[in-house]
């Protein structure tokens, strides 16, 4: 299909993943606003909306620009943006053509949002300890933002501590509790949250009140992390990196898909640098930029043969490629690749 290494996308599996998450959101009574940073692809975003998503989440102004240009008209930049003069001009242009919301976790950053055509969601920390204010401080911040004349749409969090073995259910519980405290704090401050937004792929199946909106990203493709966390099985992995076996040195399989194709992500609990879906016992024990070293039980695939590898973290693997090669033929672009700002 392509010259290895390349991204191979099984659209049938993708569509099943989209349907499963859309059904879960409907059953839980929450809106689905999937995170497009994972796929960066208008064709996939269109399928998400067709499956019932209410809009898209993105990480950067640049990603918002790509999806706005592709006709998507309801975008949430789920990030505590620092808005300088240049960013303000870009947000103004965006806000004139789409329904736009941005994240904020400080009154200092909020001051730069005054007058922009964007609603604001207060970011809280629900246990991942990255950005976001303490849940009980959400009301104070919401009132400050509202006092600038900006409409506060609600509150959001990312329960990233769900990315750990056996932590998925607890992280969802932390998330719901923290968002509940934040919503109460905002109501007490006279700025009630219309939208209570959370979610990650590992925690999504445990979504509970008071969430009104879910923002998973990775679920579209799945990846080795999701398999090893127990979120999905290999049959739900829609995206693989096709690689060529270039060496049998040391009785192992060396392929041409290294960290510049798979990404270098490796969580402390990961079994290796990715997985081989056709041989779950295999272990990717080392990764260089253009080599993966695989301990391969049983007969080795012959030199020159193509093998499929599952990256640990699919978002970073996708960001290294220009296009998806569809299993049924054709390509889709990674249109927002590299749009980091």
């Amino acid at each position: 299909m392509g010259t290895t290494p390349y991204l191979r996308l099984d659209v049938a599996v993708l569509d099943r993943n989209l349907a499963v998450m859309a059904d879960a959101a409907r059953a839980a009574g929450v809106a689905l606003r999937p995170h497009a940073k994972t796929h960066k692809c208008p064709q996939i975003a269109a399928r998400q909306l067709a499956a019932g998503a209410v809009g898209l989440t993105v990480a950067t102004i640049g990603e918002a620009e790509v999806f706005a240009a592709a006709g998507f008209d309801d975008l949430f930049i789920a990030y505590p943006l620092w808005v300088d003069t240049d960013a303000a001009a870009r947000l103004r242009a965006l806000g004139e053509r789409v329904r736009l919301a941005v994240g904020c976790d400080s009154a200092t950053a909020a001051a730069n949002l005054a007058g922009l055509p964007a609603e604001v969601l207060v970011e809280i920390d629900s246990g991942h300890h990255r950005s976001g204010v303490d849940p009980d401080a959400a009301g104070e911040l919401a009132a400050a933002i509202s006092g600038l004349g900006q409409r506060v749409r609600g509150v959001f969090t990312f329960p990233g501590h769900s990315y750990s073995p056996d932590a998925r259910r607890a992280a969802a519980s932390d998330e719901a509790a923290a968002l509940g405290r934040a919503a109460a704090s905002m109501a007490a401050s006279g700025v009630p949250a219309q939208v209570v937004s959370g979610g990650s792929t590992p925690s999504a199946e445990f979504v509970a009140s008071p969430l009104t909106e879910l923002r998973p990203g990775v679920y579209v493709f799945g990846d080795a992390q999701q398999v090893e966390l127990g979120t999905i099985g290999f049959e739900r992995v829609a995206l693989t990196v096709a690689a060529t076996v270039v060496s049998h040195a040391g009785g192992r399989v060396i392929t041409d898909a290294g960290s510049k194709a798979l990404g270098a992500d490796r969580a402390p609990w990961a079994s290796g640098y990715g997985r081989v879906p056709d041989l779950p016992e295999a272990r990717i024990v080392a990764l260089s930029e253009h080599h993966s070293t695989i301990e391969w039980p049983g007969p080795l695939p012959s030199l020159g043969s193509e093998v499929l590898l599952v990256p640990n973290h699919v978002c970073n693997a996708v960001n290294l490629a220009e296009e998806y090669h569809l299993a049924g033929g054709g390509t889709w672009p990674v249109a927002a690749r590299g749009r980091n700002s």
Copy 2:
């Protein structure tokens, strides 16, 4: 200079690094053929040649095509290529315009090289245990390649096990010993090695006989790994990722340079996900795609201020960007970004 996150290159430090390595190679009596996969930039390659490099090393046919198009005429693809019909056509086109060499570590792969306008270097394993044959088997493979009518230029290895604390000198010693055995094996097989090629940035200062050629890559910029391995100090780091402070959540510094800007590399011995050169005591304790979380002793830099971060592994960080922003103004392209095949 740019919108964060962006690559900031100090050309004065770069030039000093180029001179230091060129002087070291001259003093050791070896040719310098730097690995261009690190920078992927014709402007930097031209400075390497001006400082005395004899040619360039690249990792892929695609990188060779970019540098050939930019006028570089002596290229070694230091990789055990699997050459299918498409790759053969590309190598034929390359070999007509430049002096070309490729790597090989099996008779099976060698069979695909027959008739191509490329010299071959036999790859051996000197202790990194990735690709490459046992040193004592180099002669047999060289004879097989020679028997196909291909000219064997010599032997090469990558002492990647130099990337470990206190291993730099030992890896260089392993490398020299392994290359010595390989050269003896080739001489005994009637295919003497004209070129005996090795080297990595951490091991380069210990280069010794019988090496005739050195192929370091990272030395042009330096990175956090080189600092933590003891190869260089921060004053030798030429490339940083400029980031904006977006949050002070949890009393820490959160910037907008995450794994999509710094790369996700983290060796087991690394202190974190990169370093802060202006504050060596700071620790980058977590990395998301668009966030770095930094434990920052002392007063925090204000929200909206720009800080400079050093990636752990600069090759992967460079591969995520389209251009270098020069500290003195202007930009250079990352011309071979993403050329993985």
